[in-house]
Symmetry: C2
Subunit: 292 residues, 2 copies
């Protein structure tokens, strides 16, 4: 079986054996926004046509490929939902060269009754379900997701725009003028996390990034990490209940490590899972699927 | 006397008679960042040279012209500070064609011990001091200032980055993709203000701007106003104490009116002052100055 995590900006394919183990993998900067004229069929063949020629007959995909801007819009399933609901909700996509199934996204209502959505993260969470028990799973990124897992299903979740807000604030406000491109600075990140716990609203504390620079208390090579810590610190304080237990992080190593620092500063514990959670989740849903 | 409010992006000049009344005015998009090579002396002559030729001998200036990027860096005075401290702290600038004085900016520490700064707003506040008593004065803008006035002086203040954050989020995140350029929509603004009072952190609620659009609950012509309401709603909730009394707003009419709506939604009352507060503040400080 071929498992594909096809997001907004990236394409990742995994070739799995009958037991779900990884035989081969490839990745390309061919997210759905990069595919001219939405020619997803052509793109898919150009990426994994050789695996199909080599005998693969089944493909399962997750991510933004199932959105309105993707190949076929897969309706959102409502939480709580777990592997059984997701496998039963797989959408069949017409494709000449293999049986093709799409994992639906999830929706729920937040504490204020506002709609929430995810596409792709549900599959990554399925990929770590066996180990986590009832727990909080966090997937850092441009739009970070915090999901509650209970009884083997995703009970609900919340999205935080911290990652994209960081990029917009750094790139397009006065705060960025005082930032020099630099390596991540853990000490400056920790200062930002600590400041997130101080009195004052985030919209006020953001201006402090500038004044600390003006008064020589924050260097140009430190201020991007400080801003990142301030935003992630706010996110963690808001998303992490007092009695959270261990938080399971799924994501790129560097960013997951920053989240782990911020969660530790709040007294929380973390386990970091790698991004191949997507491959394991797709393998599991593919096993449960009706391939007809 | 000539009074000048010279900010980052704009230049405003007022010609005052001996009693401080307005004889003439002019404005230009010649903020300090627009003056090539920091040739401020030339710029000043090109803007008000005819008034000098007509007999004016004194100029008083406020705003970012007194910053590190300006003509001369005027040190910040510490709060509490009022007209007497500001007049005593005027900085003399060498200029061949008139006596030239610069109003210093103010600094203080916020509730978390972080430094705060303003340049120009202190002069606008002086311009409304006579009418306000002990009160909160709010100056909306890219970097909105909330100042506490007590016993005729500025006791302290806080800055909120809401305006600049709005522009960066609208222009450079996924939220902006769902926004059509449209007139301000008061009903959508009010919905944003109301949502700011709902459970959930701002960084989470920002993602709601997208999901409401996805589910057809917020139109493309409404979402910019909704985002503005969400940010200003958060700012007002954070900056407005329960027992604030009347808030005095100084600023452009349209933006001040939005702040008044958000403050009213929090049960507060407002008085809106026009932007000529700068002229009145400069007139008062000019009267008190030692022109030597």
């Amino acid at each position: 079986m071929i498992a594909i995590d096809w997001g907004t900006s990236s394409f990742r394919a995994f070739r799995l054996d009958a037991a779900g183990a990884l035989r081969d993998r490839r990745a390309a900067a061919r997210g759905i926004l990069a595919v001219e004229g939405s020619r997803f069929e052509e793109e898919l063949l150009s990426q994994v046509g050789d695996w199909l020629a080599d005998g693969e007959t089944r493909i399962i995909m997750s991510g933004m490929i199932g959105s309105r801007q993707g190949w076929v819009e897969a309706p959102y399933l409502h939480c709580p939902a777990g592997p059984a609901e997701l496998a039963a909700g797989l959408v069949t996509v017409a494709f000449d060269c293999a049986a093709l199934r799409l994992v639906p996204g999830l929706t729920c209502l937040d504490a204020a009754g506002m709609p929430e959505v995810m596409r792709g993260e549900e599959t990554q969470i399925v990929g770590v379900l066996d180990g986590v028990g009832d727990a909080l799973v966090c997937l850092p990124g441009s739009h970070a997701k915090w999901a509650r897992v209970a009884a083997g299903r995703i009970a609900g979740f919340e999205t935080y725009l911290s990652g994209e807000a960081f990029a917009a604030l750094r790139g397009h406000t006065i705060l960025g003028r005082m930032m020099r491109e630099a390596r991540s600075d853990p000490a400056a990140f920790d200062r930002g996390v600590a400041h997130a716990a101080a009195p004052g609203h985030l919209l006020h504390q953001l201006f402090g990034v500038r004044t600390l620079g003006l008064f020589g208390r924050l260097g140009e090579a430190e201020s991007a990490s400080y801003l990142s810590g301030l935003l992630i610190g706010h996110e963690v304080r808001a998303a992490l209940p007092a009695s959270a237990g261990t938080v399971h992080l799924i994501g790129a190593a560097a960013l997951a490590a920053l989240y782990a620092r911020a969660i530790a500063a709040q007294g929380g514990q973390t386990v970091i899972h790698d991004e191949d959670a997507a491959s394991r989740g797709l393998a599991r849903l593919g096993e449960m699927a009706a391939w007809g």
